[in-house]
């Protein structure tokens, strides 16, 4: 059987959900960061598949932007994590709750 668009969409939906769940239930900030990357890349998959099936390039253009943005976000995120780590000596997000209520 040939692989239709829906396969891609389902797969990316799957990856996206896994990203969300990972973000929700992992306590290590770095892993949460990875989950976000997972979400972004699953969207990339969707975009590529769609633009492929529609023969329209806009989707792929967006993918490039997403990739670069993802890179930038990763850098900023890691930088912040280091800043936090210097202060608190932990990357456990549940230990980082100075502000609440």
């Amino acid at each position: 059987m040939e692989i239709t668009l829906n396969w891609y969409l389902t797969l990316s939906a799957l990856l996206f959900t896994m990203g969300v769940l990972g973000f929700l239930f992992r306590r290590n900030v770095i892993i949460m960061l990875m989950s976000i990357e997972l979400m972004l890349n699953s969207v990339n998959l969707t975009l590529v598949a769609l633009s492929q099936s529609m023969g329209d390039s806009a989707g792929q253009v967006l993918v490039f932007f997403v990739m670069s943005v993802a890179a930038a976000e990763a850098a900023v995120g890691l930088a912040l994590i280091i800043a936090i780590f210097r202060n608190k000596l932990t990357v456990d997000i549940t230990k980082i709750n100075l502000f609440k209520y």
Binding site: L21, L24, F25, R27, I93, T94, K95, N97, K100, Y101
Partner: protein, 660 residues
């Protein structure tokens, strides 16, 4: 001279006064102690507008004048001019405000002498006059609303004037919040009227009223009335007014007796055409008014703080006015606003002068180190003040007789007119008319009783403060007694502008012709069958007898036994009396039902919302995805997780709403 220019002067001068004293005092501490200058400027800035208003009144030809200053809003189909309107109603109100206001300013120059906040006080007072004039002179609901909010703000500032005492600012907050509730009902009424009629200036409003459908008219009038109850202290929003007595006495006299609290009635009178086309709501108004009058009067009987008595009597009298509005006699309501402004202002100023001198007694006691605690406002420790302060006593007595409705005093005419209108309404086939007439009569009796009680306990009998033989209070300075005399005079004869219709077929009822005549702004309920003259005379005689009876009764009770008689009352009425004494426990009810849950909820419930509720959501999502057992390991979430869970919850909610 050009009336438009004059009216703008009337509006601007008080603002100038406020700016002068406020800014100078704020940025130049040296100015704060120049009491003479401050007082003179402030008083002049109210007195001059009064003269102008009198001039306008003299040259008024019955033709409404609209002075447009500039166009305020012109958004789409909404055009609101910053315009002022001179007609019979606004002129009368303006004269009351500036006249009584001016006298009270003069009085305050003596009363506030030596207070560090002297400059602030007069700045606020002028600001209040400015806002109040905006309220009564504005030519559309928006300008009126501007004044409406303004007076609320000023009353807030003045109630909390002695903010050092925390309970004062608490009272101020209470007044402000309750007013806000009313204000926003008012705002909603504006929205509805604007949607239905598409304009907010009075001419188009009154013209377009006929085009509205019944339900929206009812809604609009009801919301307007709720707004009025907030400002004019009616059930259920009346509890702020007694607390408002925390402010200086002149403030109580000006804002919480003579002017601001009557603005609700002004609003209804101004829109009388619209109100008249909502008979259902009018019934509500009449009943609420009557109830308020009765409830407040019963409470007033039991109070010992002289200012509290006057406060509740104010609420009660306002109830009378709403009663009149409810039976479609708007001009009578305004008539009573006027007479009430006279005698109630006089009463408050009189009580102020009493408190002034009792403070003196307090100081004496403290100086001699007798170590006696004395509440300068408690009537139980007064008595026999009459021989020390004759002027205050005389004026207070006159006003008491006026408010009690003794014939030929001003209160008699206005109150009797209200009762008669209620009776006529009932005679016209409205059951509610009879009802409110009955309540009104009972309240009249109560009024006579509690006011006489207040007078007797204060000025008659023997002196009850400690060391009365050595320590004597003294009469207040001329700057305080002059306004008293003037107001007392007005309270005595002010009613003659409204001779009842039975005499000379109402030709002498000037106020009626002035306010409700043809091409006059105030509409009134048109009666079908007229009450026979003989019956009308009978009613007048009846209500006069009621008043005399009440006065005589209270005099007999309290002149012989003094405050001790209250025990007999409480014994006679038992639980009922306790109910009155406890002010029907409305405050407690509000506190339990509304205040505590709200504040408590905010502090204990909702602030940790993020923590607890959202963790609950984590459970939910976790259950949704992994099953409860697997979740439990992951529940010890840090805040970020709960935030993320909230986002996910939002996503689900959003998707669900959007897709179903």
């Amino acid at each position: 001279m050009d009336p438009e220019l004059l009216i703008e002067l009337v509006i601007l001068l008080p603002l100038l006064g406020a700016a002068f004293n406020g800014l100078l005092g704020l940025f130049q501490p040296a100015h704060r102690t120049r009491e003479k200058l401050i007082g003179t400027v402030a008083t002049a800035m109210v007195a001059i507008p009064f003269l102008i208003a009198v001039y306008l009144f003299a040259t008024f030809d019955g033709e409404a004048i609209v002075a447009t200053v500039f166009t305020w809003m012109a958004a789409g189909d909404l055009t609101v001019n910053f315009a002022f309107r001179i007609d019979q109603l606004s002129l009368l109100m303006t004269m009351i405000i500036t006249g009584v206001g001016g006298l009270i300013h003069l009085y305050s120059t003596g009363y506030m002498h030596g207070d560090d906040g002297y400059w602030r006080f007069f700045a606020y007072l002028n600001l209040f006059i400015f806002a109040m004039l905006n309220l009564v002179l504005g030519n559309n609901l928006v300008v009126l609303f501007l004044g409406w909010e303004g007076v609320g703000l000023c009353s807030y500032l003045l109630i909390g004037f002695w903010y050092k005492d925390l309970k004062n600012s608490a009272a101020a907050n209470k007044a402000f919040i309750m007013n806000r509730i009313g204000d926003f009902a008012f705002l909603m009424a504006m929205f509805i009227l604007f949607r239905e009629i598409g304009a907010l200036d009075f001419d188009s409003l009154l013209a377009g009223a006929s085009s509205m459908d019944q339900s929206s008219i009812n809604w609009a009038v009801l919301l307007l009335f709720i707004g009025a109850t907030g400002k004019s202290a009616q059930i259920p929003l009346f509890t702020w007014l007694p607390d408002a007595m925390a402010g200086p006495t002149p403030v109580s006299a000006l804002i919480h007796a003579a002017t601001m609290v009557t603005s609700g009635l002004y609003l209804l009178a101004r829109l009388s055409v619209i109100v008249l086309s909502a008979p259902v709501i009018m019934t509500v108004i009449a009943v609420v008014g009557a109830l308020t009058a009765l409830v407040a009067a019963t409470i007033a009987i039991t109070q010992n703080d002289i200012k509290k008595v006057l406060a509740y009597s104010t609420i009660s009298q306002l109830g009378y006015m709403f009663l009149a509005t409810g039976v479609g006699a708007f001009y009578v309501a305004i008539f009573h606003v006027m007479t009430h402004a006279f005698f109630k202002a006089c009463l408050f100023l009189g009580s102020g002068s009493v408190i002034h001198s009792m403070h003196h007694v307090e100081h004496e006691l403290a100086k001699d180190g007798h170590g006696h605690e004395l509440d300068a406002q408690d009537m139980r420790t007064m008595g026999g003040l009459g021989k020390y302060m004759p002027a205050t006593r005389m004026t207070f007595l006159i006003s008491t007789l006026a408010i009690a409705g003794i014939p030929l005093f001003s209160g008699f005419f206005s109150k009797d007119e209200i009762l008669f209108k209620a009776f006529e309404f009932g005679y016209d086939g409205h059951l509610v008319g009879w009802l409110v007439y009955g309540v009104g009569i009972v309240t009249a009796l109560l009024t006579a009783v509690y006011m006489t009680r207040a007078y007797v306990l204060t000025f008659e009998g023997e002196e009850r403060w400690p060391h009365a033989d050595t320590i004597h209070p003294h009469e207040s300075p001329w700057s305080m007694t002059t306004p008293l005399w003037i107001l007392a005079g007005l309270a005595a004869v002010g009613g003659l502008v409204g001779i009842p219709a039975v005499i000379a077929h109402g030709d002498l009822n000037w106020i009626h012709h002035f306010l409700a005549g043809d091409q006059a702004p105030v509409a009134e309920y048109a009666v079908h069958g007229h009450v026979p003259v003989a019956l009308e005379w009978g009613l007048i005689a009846f209500s006069s007898l009621i008043a005399l009876f009440g006065v005589g009764l209270a005099w007999k009770w309290y002149s012989t036994e003094g405050p001790a008689f209250d025990e007999k009352l409480s014994a006679r009425f038992g639980g009922l009396y306790r109910l009155w004494k406890g002010k029907y426990f409305v405050d407690e009810a509000y506190d339990r039902a509304i205040v505590r849950p709200l504040i408590g909820g905010a502090i204990h419930g909702l602030a940790p919302f993020d923590k607890y509720v959202v963790d609950g959501l984590v459970n939910f999502v976790g259950f949704f995805t992994r099953g409860a057992s697997f979740t439990l390991r992951y529940i010890q979430t840090g805040i970020v997780h709960s935030y993320a869970a909230a986002i996910v919850f939002g996503v689900i909610l959003l998707g669900w709403l959007m897709l179903s």
